[in-house]
């Protein structure tokens, strides 16, 4: 009995020692998610959830390199759309030795330099402004999201051949103003296609005057680049005036807010066409479906708050895909760098590639830090509160329909 007890005790000690020694080799890859959780919860949570899904999967699998096993942890920091808070969040992330920073783009102009001093990469997963990413001057800033340039040009390529007279409506937010600049570039060589350029005051409760101005300009189509709430108000003003002009927009149209605002008039949403990053790729819909299923298992389907033929409409996690892909890219970079040495990880990030959530290859190089190319922008049109790829665009017509009802 005593011998057994002693043996057991010895074994327990050995096991504890083994456990301790293996735990000492487990390290953490910390990714700080700096996003507007309080001011734009849909954007913030989408970015964070995509990152979290990837981090959970990677931790489960374990990243083993350089004699150590790594787990991935997400640190959520709210920037409330404030650049100074974003700077404070980046400072905190650096203090906690974050391996990378995922952001919606707020405050990048000020904060990137702080991260660059410590060779920490910053990845933008939402905003598409062209000035935010510049590999030469900002070597640590990356983006996996459709760019404003890509969206604007694809919209122009799609709309101009239809021989429409397009009224460009942009709101006075920074999103709208950046969009106006991108649209000005895209339509610069086709000025005759533009019937009017109108600014929508985001704080106005009624946009009827602006819609009337567009109508009087002879426009036969509206291209609205504005935040979701303003887009909703524009559609409401257009349709309630009895003007059934086709309305085109950006990924803001996917935001649940638009359909919630127009829930009492579902027919007003019909025909709304928007540009966004493709969810499926050349490999087919299977990779995307797998990702979507994992996402919904982890976080539940994001309910839009409306119904289509009596069934609940959900928002597919397309933007979550971008943060998910970045976390996987980062893990590949850590593996390639044999550890989390910041300078090595940053350098490796310019070399590695991974298979993205939708099957597309994702990667950067020293001279290109954009993860989504312009030609991956597709078009979708709403009907009955769900959207489907359009049939009159070469890329979009090849894409499958993604189920959005549960």
């Amino acid at each position: 009995m005593r011998a057994s007890a002693a043996t057991l005790a010895a074994l327990a000690l050995v096991a504890a020692g083994c456990g301790h020694s293996s735990a000492s080799k487990q390290r953490t890859i910390l990714i700080a998610v700096d996003a507007p959780f309080s001011r734009s919860p849909y954007i913030g949570n989408t970015i964070a959830n995509g990152g979290r899904l990837a981090s959970d999967q990677l931790t489960l699998r374990g990243i083993t390199t350089g004699g150590a096993t790594y787990r991935v942890r997400i640190l959520q920091l709210d920037n409330a759309l404030s650049p100074s808070r974003a700077v404070a969040n980046v400072r905190r992330a650096l203090r906690e030795h974050a391996t990378a920073i995922l952001t919606d783009g707020t405050g990048v102009d000020a904060a990137w330099r702080l991260a660059d001093k410590q060779h920490v990469p910053v990845c933008i997963a939402y905003q598409g402004g062209s000035k935010l990413v510049n590999p030469e001057n900002r070597p640590n800033v990356f983006r996996i999201a459709p760019t404003d340039h890509g969206l604007a040009f694809r919209l122009a390529e799609y709309l101009v051949p239809k021989r429409l007279k397009i009224a460009l409506l942009t709101d006075d937010s920074d999103y709208g103003q950046a969009g106006r600049d991108a649209l000005d570039d895209a339509f610069r060589t086709v000025p005759k296609a533009v019937a009017a350029r109108i600014t929508l005051p985001a704080s106005a409760s009624d946009l009827a005057p602006q819609v009337l101005e567009a109508r009087r300009s002879g426009a036969t189509a509206l291209l609205v680049w504005a935040r979701p709430a303003v887009l909703g108000k524009t559609i409401a003003a257009t349709r309630s005036a009895g003007w059934h002009v086709p309305v085109y927009s950006t990924p803001a149209a996917e935001d649940p807010v638009v359909r919630q605002q127009l829930a009492d008039h579902p027919s007003w949403v019909d025909g709304l066409t928007f540009a966004s990053g493709r969810m499926t790729a050349e490999l087919g819909p299977a990779p995307w479906s797998t990702f979507e299923a994992s996402y919904e298992t982890a976080f539940g389907a994001t309910s839009v708050g409306v119904k289509s033929h009596g069934r609940r409409v959900i928002a597919p996690p397309d933007y979550a895909m971008y943060s998910y892909d970045f976390v996987n890219l980062l893990a590949a970079a850590v593996q390639s760098a044999s550890g989390t040495d910041p300078a090595k990880v940053l350098s490796a990030l310019n070399q590695v590639t991974t298979r993205g959530a939708n099957g597309d290859e994702r990667g950067f190089n020293e001279r290109n830090h954009e993860g989504v190319v312009d030609d991956d922008v597709y078009f979708a049109r709403f009907r009955d509160m769900v959207f489907r790829p359009v049939g009159d665009d070469p890329l979009s017509s090849t894409l499958p329909e993604i189920s959005q009802v549960r």
Binding site: A156, E157, D185, R188, T189, N365, V373
Partner: protein, 137 residues
């Protein structure tokens, strides 16, 4: 019929089916090319110093809004076309980002006064179809 016989037939049928799938998969790459499309009259409107690797023939040019889409083909395999374009863009000082699958590849470029993409598809055994989208910067 004996069990062995049934099994044999089954195996043969199975092999035939697999063989035919593989054949269809390899169909594009193995398919003999028909007559080459006619080259377009004149040269397409390409940006200055836009690289044109050897054995590239342009067949059409279309204006799509602000952008230009130039169609063409290159004699040879997809992989060669892909490598040629990558090195040609690199030599011409363009910034590129590329992706290659089994039957298609893209080289996204940025430089000079334009951005865009060269999309390559192995359309038949010795011909790679090209679709070049050029967007003014």
């Amino acid at each position: 019929m004996s069990r062995i016989g049934v099994l044999s037939v089954f195996v043969v049928l199975l092999a035939a089916a697999c063989g035919s799938e593989k054949k269809s998969e390899e169909g594009k790459a193995e398919k003999e090319c028909g007559a080459a499309p006619a080259a377009m009259a004149g040269q397409p409107t390409l940006p200055a110093k836009f690289p044109t690797p050897d054995m590239v023939t342009y067949t059409a040019e279309k204006k799509t809004g602000p952008s230009t889409i130039v169609s063409g083909y290159r004699e040879g395999e997809l992989a060669e076309a892909f490598d040629d374009y990558k090195s040609a863009f690199s030599s011409a000082g363009y910034v590129t980002k590329d992706e290659k699958e089994e039957d298609d590849a893209e080289v996204n470029f940025s430089g000079g006064s334009s951005t865009g993409q060269v999309k390559m598809i192995q359309s038949c055994k010795d011909r790679t179809t090209l679709s070049i989208t050029i967007r003014p910067q």
